[in-house]
């Protein structure tokens, strides 16, 4: 008994205490919302009671599950949208892999010109909101089906695009994969960079052809990165709503998230959350497969600096054609959508592309009820509410980035140092869960959880800190990924050497573990930073007039069709985010790729 107690006492090392602490906190912030969400799917809500004979509000019921999985209409309600969702998630993941992988290979392993520029630009599509590409697609390729002005492609060529090309799964997959391919680019690029060139060279000496080397040596080596990319993009594909609704509606192809939104809007949260639960389960399934297939193989190659960097593949006469192709691609997916946004903000009357129509009214104009759209609003840069919301966004993004960054290090530390124990596994998987939760559902549940004081936690309702907590939980997965990969590259002896001379845990953190991987930690903060600036559905239920952020305040303009304001705000955010990314690279040597563990 006493020895058992002593053993317990002596084992209370900082990493154990920390892990248990994180288990408890994450449990509260991740598992409780999950549980609450699941519980809602078994409860009769006010407007649901009319379709469940004899049910009263608050009763327990199987009806939602029955409706979705077993009813006569289950195919239309559930299975068809599920099928579409899977097609989209799968298609977008594969395409993002192919585009990202090809680009990564070109940049890392060949003598392609202008690599630095390409590498920087390839990250921008992720910084822009995903709907900009959907909007650009419609502007370019729409046909008569949805009326309005002609699509630019048709206007130029006279060829009418077919419906399947202009709307539905095809463009959804294309535009989403153009948004998410930077994940593939960063992760696979990172993995390619770590491959010892000798592995390739020895294959070459054995007479293997280039394609064979790629297939038999390179791809297996970057397989963990490929799976990581797949996991990240596939999960996002499951939950995405905006682009599928916008591009799918005209040809009536719907996804699982439609069911989530439709039923939340129809005030049938039981049915709505059921869709969310299915999305989470699918994500967990992919996560599980990832662990099964890659699991042990993801032993990290510690960057050793040994083994000369591979002689780059000479592209020969393909060098310039490929460069032109890649640049064309970048222009198409980055420059064109951005320009479309810019043009929109400087046209007095939308859609009329003439010099007389050029204006800076929406940027710096006075409030007016007669000029242009007659909004009665001052221009963006002179609009104090917009500017203060923008300031809030920046403060929130910085605070969340710092907190997630620090948590990422600590959780990553606990996960890596406790490797092999169930605690480490639980932390690892729990910290990824928020990535799988649709943010609209997460926002609603956090609202309910934090509106009242619970135990030691006071009511955080309406405070800035609630926004911070929600964003922190939501973007923790990115930060933990960065933290894990950073700590993994620090051999345990580096820390033990400090233990030997009596350095406390805090001293070790401060003097050894954090400085050694400084740039990786800062990189881990970039993705949360970027994501916060774009977040809407998570925050909409939680902001107050004082804590309005750029995205929530922009709603009032979107709402009335005043797109110059909406687009102007998006542009400002993109400029700020790109600017800070470049700045932090200069100052800290950060790169988003490192932030993903690439």
């Amino acid at each position: 008994m006493r020895t058992a107690f002593n053993r317990f006492r002596l084992k209370m090392t900082p990493q154990r205490v920390l892990s248990v602490l994180f288990l408890v906190v994450l449990g509260y912030l991740v598992i409780v919302p999950l549980f609450l969400m699941l519980r809602e799917t078994f409860i009769v809500h006010p407007l649901e009671r009319f379709q469940i004979p004899g049910a009263k509000i608050g009763d327990w019921t199987w009806a939602h599950w029955q409706r979705n999985f077993l009813s006569d209409n289950a195919y239309a309600f559930f299975y068809k949208p599920l099928l579409n969702t899977l097609k989209i998630a799968l298609g977008l993941s594969l395409l993002a892999l192919v585009i990202g992988g090809a680009l990564a290979w070109l940049v890392v392993r060949t003598d392609l010109p202008m690599k630095g520029f390409i590498a920087n630009a390839a990250i921008i599509p992720y910084i822009m909101p995903s709907w900009t590409l959907a909007l650009a697609w419609i502007t370019l390729f729409k046909n008569q089906r949805i009326g309005g002005d002609q699509g630019i492609f048709t206007a130029l060529t006279g060829i009418a695009t077919p419906d399947w090309f202009a709307y539905g799964l095809f463009p959804i997959i294309i535009t989403l994969s153009l948004h998410y391919f930077p994940f593939g680019f960063m992760l696979i690029g990172g993995a390619l960079r770590n491959i010892d060139a000798q592995l390739e060279e020895s294959a070459e000496l054995l007479g293997a052809s280039r394609p064979t080397i790629l297939r038999r040596v390179v791809i297996p080596l970057v397989l963990p990165a490929i799976f990581s990319t797949f996991l990240l993009t596939f999960s996002r594909g499951l939950g995405t709503f905006g682009t599928p609704a916008f591009l799918g509606g005209p040809v009536r192809e719907f996804v699982l998230s439609t069911s989530l939104y439709a039923n939340l809007i129809g005030q049938r949260p039981g049915i709505g959350y059921l869709a969310a639960v299915v999305m989470i389960l699918l994500g967990v399934l992919v996560l599980y497969m990832d662990h099964k297939i890659i699991g042990t193989r993801r032993s990290f190659v510690t960057i050793s600096g040994k083994g000369a960097r591979a002689g780059l593949v000479a592209l020969g006469r393909w060098r310039w054609p490929l460069a032109v192709l890649v640049l064309g691609f970048i222009v198409a997916v980055i420059v064109v959508p951005l320009c479309a946004l810019v043009i929109d903000t400087v046209m007095l009357r939308p859609g009329i592309y003439a010099w007389e129509n050029f204006t800076l009214h929406y940027w710096i104009g006075d409030a007016s009820l007669t000029v242009g759209l007659g909004t009665g609003e001052p221009g963006i840069l002179r609009n104090s509410q917009l500017m203060s919301a923008l300031r809030n966004t920046m403060v929130l993004a910085v605070v969340v980035a710092l907190i997630t960054g620090i948590l990422g290090i600590l959780v990553g530390y606990a996960i890596v140092r406790m490797r092999g124990s169930w605690v480490s596994q639980a932390l690892d998987q729990m910290s990824f869960m928020p990535y799988l939760m649709p943010s609209i559902a997460l926002g609603a549940i956090f609202l309910a959880m934090f509106a009242v004081p619970r135990g030691p936690i006071p009511s955080l309702h309406g405070t800035f800190w609630l926004l911070v907590i929600v964003c922190t939980v939501s973007y923790l997965p990115y930060a933990v990924k960065a933290g894990v990969s950073a700590i993994r590259q620090i051999g345990p002896e580096l820390e033990e050497a400090a233990v030997m001379v009596g350095a406390s845990w805090w001293t070790r953190m401060r003097r050894i573990l954090i400085p050694v991987q400084k740039s990786t930690y800062f990189s881990g903060m970039l993705l949360p930073f970027i994501s916060v600036t774009r977040e809407l559905s998570l925050l909409i239920l939680l902001v107050t007039p004082a804590t309005q952020v750029a995205t929530t305040i922009t709603l009032r303009y979107t709402d009335r069709g005043w797109y110059p304001y909406t687009n102007g705000m998006v542009l400002l955010l993109v400029v700020i985010v790109v600017g800070s990314t470049i700045l932090s690279r200069r100052l800290m040597g950060t790169s988003i790729a490192k932030g993903l563990g690439g």
Partner: protein
């Protein structure tokens, strides 16, 4: 959302029952006292589905010195947020400017979290049926077409036209699945199935053959099977119909009439149907409600009063398609008074809508997938 909260809601209802009757009884109220108290209460917090509330609030603050903060939320976000906060006992919001009263009534009013209040001007001037719930204004949604294609005459005769071959793949509607008011409106089509069926027979000279339970749901089915185009915003619909220079422009169903404000600004060739039977579209109220737990109830009452006056309604009066119940409000230039629309358009029955909108949504979801 859960049973305990419902219980608490019922308790709150009992407590606040007094307030409701007090609001209803004109005699008990000393307006001067309310005004005096309001000045001492401090800043008012309003959740609103319409962004123009912020405009009105500015003018109100300038007049009275009472600060008003407005949070703009989508219909369902507003209901969710107000409901969750009230259930948790948070006393932030003082009043709401809400839409989708069918859902809001279930979650906010029936639970006792929010109560109706009728300020003096509304009590004096508004028709009684628009006093509970107190209506800020009505919004109407219409059918529309392109005047380049149809320069002389309105192409529509009956709503059933939209289910015919001529309109295959040419009619746009905002996604019913994500539009609560559309769901409410279609319940009226269910409730008035007989009229709808009679309209079919009058139009085509033969009885309506149905596979669905009633003519309302039958319409949804046929409409979707006729390759309707589902959009995500009313603005996109009105612009798509009205853009000049189209050979084969689409038609619109149930887009907000207020978009006609943009017709001169954007040179749109857009017109709404004034003859389609049996309804020109639908109308729905924007509702004002007072929090049962308001910390600034008197300031809220003053703001509600203000919104019922012509001055308070001014931010909405700058476009067609929004109608104050105040009979002194002059319609927007070129628009008709609400009474005209009310005669030719269906609203919806709150109880029937609450009971049936689930069926409407399910029918929609069932046929929306191709």
């Amino acid at each position: 959302m859960d049973f305990m909260r419902m219980l608490r809601g019922v308790a709150a209802l009992a407590v606040t029952a007094g307030l409701v009757t007090a609001g209803g009884m004109a005699v008990a109220e000393d307006w001067a006292q309310i005004e005096a108290d309001a000045k001492t209460e401090g800043a008012l917090l309003v959740y609103s589905t319409t962004s123009r509330t912020a405009k009105a609030a500015e003018a109100f603050s300038a007049d009275t010195g009472i600060a008003v903060e407005v949070v703009r939320l989508g219909e369902q976000d507003l209901i969710q947020r107000a409901y969750q906060e009230a259930a948790a006992g948070v006393r932030d919001v003082d009043m709401i400017v809400a839409e989708d009263w069918v859902a809001a009534r279930e979650l906010l009013s029936n639970t006792g979290y929010f109560v109706n209040y009728v300020p003096p001007t509304a009590r004096e001037l508004f028709p009684e049926r628009h006093q509970d719930p107190l209506v800020l204004g009505f919004i109407n949604r219409v059918f529309g077409y392109n005047t380049d294609k149809h320069p002389d005459a309105d192409p529509f005769v009956s709503v059933w036209d939209l289910t015919t071959e001529d309109y295959r793949g040419r009619v746009m509607i905002r996604d019913v699945a994500i539009t609560g008011e559309h769901q409410n409106a279609f319940t009226e089509w269910v409730r008035r199935s007989d009229e709808l069926a009679a309209d079919y027979e009058a139009r085509f000279g033969k009885p309506l053959e149905m596979t669905e339970a009633n003519a309302g749901l039958e319409f949804i089915k046929r409409f979707l099977q006729n390759d309707a185009i589902i959009m995500t915003s009313d603005t996109k619909i009105s612009e798509a119909i009205g853009a000049p220079g189209q050979d084969n422009p689409p038609y619109g169903m149930f887009y907000v009439y207020s978009k006609h404000r943009d017709v001169p600004l954007q040179d749109l060739r857009l017109k709404d149907s004034r003859q389609i039977s049996p309804t020109l579209g639908y109308y729905y109220p924007i509702v004002l409600q007072l929090s049962a737990n308001a910390e600034h109830p008197n300031a809220a009452k003053m703001f509600m009063e203000y919104l019922g006056t012509l001055e308070g309604f001014a931010p909405w009066a700058d476009s067609p398609g929004v109608y104050s119940p105040n009979p002194n409000q002059v319609p927007f230039d070129g628009d008709m008074p609400f009474a005209w629309w009310e005669e030719r358009m269906w609203g919806y029955d709150l109880d029937f809508a609450a009971e049936n909108r689930g069926i409407v949504l399910d029918t929609w979801l069932k046929y929306a997938q191709r």
